[in-house]
Amino acid sequence: MMAYPLADPLVVLREEFDDWAVLFHPDTGAAVGLNPVGVAIWQRLDGRHTVPGIVTELTETFDGVPGSAVEEVHAFVADLIERGFVGSAQSQPG
């Protein structure tokens, strides 16, 4: 897992009326739905945040962030990497 995950800049985040959003990859046509927490994580995949850093910021924004959040966000980012939405490895902050 990269230390500072970076979203593929080609991927488009399309926010909807209820704070959920669709991630769309124009090269592959792949799409995935995100809930509001997923949107907040996505917006922090900028090559400057670590996963623990993202969780710290989530705790400031959302109520009830569980103790397992770091592991869950790691899994979420790994899934996005697998789907091709997060691509460029960053071992240092960008």
């Binding site: 488009v12 399309r14 926010e15 909807e16 209820d18 959920w20 769309f24 124009p26 046509g29």
Partner: protein, 373 residues
């Protein structure tokens, strides 16, 4: 083979699975609903128009089982006015098939409710177009229909079922959306579905006269039902607009609803004709041959219309459907409706087309033009 084991995971020997058969059991109906998309003939005693013979029903099932049949849907017309409905239910039970019944509830007796409950995975939907007789009976065209339908729902609940109530939303009864949910709670129903008025058969006149709701009104109503009303009840609520308009939160929890199941179903009409679905009543080119005269396997595996659908869905869908992110799940929402309007199996769904023309199709669910393959 013991009952229950034969169809646990039915799979055809080769080719696509025919998962479900829709039986349009009666050509007549004991209601005269002003919005009906099939427009059966009014026949309150079920004596004037054809009904599917029990022998034909059994033959279809016998030929469908090797193709993977797991569930049958009994609809109409009005399935419970079939003179041999008890025998038909006995066949369903004997073959251990899962059962869906779509009914207006007028003839839903305690005995029939028990017979339905005795089948595997019974699911029954009862039409109720208002929480008061004045609304419902006006839509149905039959005085007393409301009281009989409510009594039918009670029989289903007493038989241990959780029926679904279906309200077809139109201008006259849009104020009944929440009252019907409250009535459903009181009756012990399991869910409420809100259907759009389709511009097919009698529904065409409702659209032309402005008695159906407009697309913008329906979008607003759907969002209110899914976003607000659903939060006020334990019942499952389903607003039947296309998936592109459904919130991601709803899709995440109820993903399977709101798409055309056409790749896994086939219909048979009261006349004994195989058909794409009930649309065969109105569109002769979607009839596929007579039960007993043409083998079902030949229809299912070789009919040009079915082959064209398997080859063309979703890739050949046209118009706004071609640009929709959810076309693979939605499959054009309703192929029968699309064909009825445009004589094209791959025509776009009317609701999405109108929304697109009004600038209301959700941009987030649309494939950017540059990305289209």
């Amino acid at each position: 083979m013991p009952p229950g084991a034969a169809h646990a995971q039915p799979q055809p020997e080769a080719g696509p699975r025919l998962a479900q058969f829709y039986f349009y059991l009666t050509e007549g109906c004991n209601c005269a609903c002003r919005h009906c998309w099939l427009a059966p003939k009014f026949d309150p005693e079920a004596t004037r128009y054809p009904t599917l013979p029990v022998a034909a029903f059994e033959r279809v099932i016998a030929e469908a089982l090797p193709l993977g049949l797991g569930r049958v849907k009994l609809t109409g017309g009005e399935p419970l006015m079939h003179p041999d409905i008890g025998d038909l239910l006995a066949v369903v039970r004997r073959e251990d098939l899962a059962l869906t019944v779509e009914t207006n509830g007028l003839r839903l007796t305690e005995a029939l409710a028990d017979a339905i409950a005795g089948c595997r995975q019974p699911f029954v939907s009862v039409s109720l177009d208002g929480a008061e007789a004045g609304y419902h009976d006006k839509v149905r065209g039959v005085p007393g229909a409301f009281d009989l339908a409510v009594a039918g729902v009670r029989h289903l609940v007493e038989a241990g079922l959780k029926p679904q109530l279906i309200l077809s939303v139109m201008r006259d009864n849009v104020g009944q959306v929440e009252p019907v949910v409250r009535l459903a709670e009181q009756l012990g129903a399991g869910s409420v579905k809100f259907n759009l008025i389709q511009p097919t058969e009698r529904g065409v006149a409702l659209h032309e006269q402005g008695d159906s709701l407009t697309v913008p009104e329906l979008i607003d109503l759907g969002r209110w039902v899914e976003g607000d009303l659903a939060g006020s009840t334990e019942l499952a609520l389903h607003f039947d607009y296309p998936r592109a308009f459904r919130s991601l939160a709803r899709l995440a929890t109820r993903g399977g609803q709101g798409s055309c199941g056409i790749l896994g179903i086939l219909g048979v009409l009261a006349s004994g004709q195989y058909a794409l679905c009930g649309i065969g009543e109105s569109v002769p080119e979607l009839l596929f041959g007579q039960v007993g005269q043409v083998p079902l396997a030949e229809v299912w595996y070789q009919h040009p219309v079915l082959l064209a659908l398997r080859d063309g869905l979703p890739g050949k869908l046209g118009g706004i459907c071609a640009e929709c992110l959810q076309k693979s799940d939605c499959l054009g929402s309703c192929i029968a409706q699309n064909y009825y309007r445009a004589k094209d199996l791959f025509a776009p769904y009317w609701f999405c087309e109108e929304a697109d023309q009004l600038g209301l199709f959700p941009a987030s669910r649309r494939v950017p033009v540059a990305a289209k393959g």
